[in-house]
């Protein structure tokens, strides 16, 4: 293990990675029963399952490191919006299938690089969750990249929708690569890479896929930010209202 780890920063960081998986998993699960074709409905539901499974591992570790006797479920269901640490990108509404796919692709391309780097984390608990999740996310990325290419380089209608999706999601991608004090502490302890260090690899994947999809690269853009420190868009409250309802209305309910 690398040097002293600031425990509060570690818990904060684990919530970020866990909350990304949780909120995106919830968003993707909203498609269940609504996707354009059955195969896509099934694919989306399975991806949501992967993400929620990964969230259980990350938030489980967050609860363990925190040491206050909370569980992954309690972190997921009993925190308020300001206590969530996910990127704004993953709480964006599903929109049409193109919006959902573009959000997924832009996140997957980042997620795979993050997990790949975390496999050599100084904390073996982080490294083993990352190794497990990376194998699943490799399939997520192949699927989302494949569909971005097929729809971008598809009909005039699908191309127009993908172009619009890219334009609306792009300003939310910059937040993935912003370093702050928590990130610096994790990098210092050898637990996680600096987010900014993941950008070149992400940029390579994204540029190549967008070119193949005949979609113009948006270039530099204004970046929305705030999710990592709990400043969210109005959309997160609606996600939580649905996701947390049961545990809030019937505290401690179990299956």
């Amino acid at each position: 293990m690398a040097g002293a780890v600031d425990q509060a920063a570690f818990v904060e960081w684990l919530q970020r990675i866990g909350d990304n998986a949780l909120i995106l998993g919830h968003r993707v699960s909203e498609w269940c029963g609504h996707a354009p074709v059955l195969e896509e409905d099934i694919a989306l539901a399975n991806q949501a399952l992967d993400l929620i499974g990964q969230c259980q591992l990350w938030l489980g570790l967050a609860a363990e490191v925190e040491g206050r006797g909370r569980t992954a479920d309690q972190l997921a269901y009993l925190r308020d919006a300001v206590e969530f640490r996910n990127l704004l990108l993953v709480e964006r509404p599903n929109g049409d299938f193109g919006q959902t796919l573009m959000r997924q692709f832009l996140f997957d391309a980042f997620h795979i690089e993050l997990l790949r780097a975390l496999k050599s984390s100084a904390d073996p608990r982080v490294a083993e969750i990352a190794a497990k999740a990376e194998k699943e996310v490799a399939y997520h990325l192949e699927r989302s990249a494949d569909l971005v290419v097929r729809l971008g380089d598809g009909t005039a209608e699908s191309h127009a929708r993908m172009e619009k999706a890219l334009k609306s999601q792009w300003p939310y991608t910059g937040e993935m690569f912003l370093d702050d004090a928590v990130d610096a502490a994790m990098a210092q302890a050898g637990i996680a890479p600096l987010p900014s260090s993941l950008r070149p690899a992400w940029e390579r994947t994204v540029s190549e896929v967008l070119a193949e999809a005949t979609l113009a690269h948006p270039g530099e853009a204004f970046s929305h930010k705030g999710g990592k420190r709990g400043v969210h868009t109005e959309h997160l409250g609606f996600v939580l209202a649905e996701m947390q309802f049961l545990q809030r209305a019937y505290p401690g309910a179990v299956w």
């Binding site: 099934i42 399975n46 993400l51 929620i52 795979i112 190794a131 699943e136 990325l141 990249a145």
Partner: protein
Amino acid sequence: MTAVQPDLSEVWHWLSQVPDPEIPVISLTDLGIIRDLVWEGDTLVVTVTPTYSGCPATSIINLDIETALRGHGIGKLRLERQLSPPWTSDWITAAAREKLRAYGIAPPVDGTAADGRLAGRISRLAGTSNLVIACPRCGSTRTEKISQFGSTPCKASWRCTDCLEPFDYFKCI
């Protein structure tokens, strides 16, 4: 008084008769998810690894293990989750692959797991696959991928262009 501790090879045999809840033609040991068995004093410790992080069968599997072992008279047992090394479809036994095929699920083709490294092959991604999967019904290799994801996280959807039947392919991971 305490009963004689059963030999671990016998316990392995018992677990080889516990079916996977989602693909009941193969057992938990066929799937390679039982990683270790050990006696700690009078407690049997069973180490289990999940196939996929979010596999909904995980809790049922744990319950099935417990039920089976208690049925064989094991009074004290503890299940431990092991994440590392992560489960791989390479651990599915040869006999189990035949059982999968006979059941209508094409077994995994080792060494073809997605690795997320898209660079240089994106132009070949769209709608294509470099995998050759034989149809579990007619044996034809004229098959195509419908979706990377199938009826469970561990499977993909394929179809045969000869017999025209859709089928599940057990993904390599």
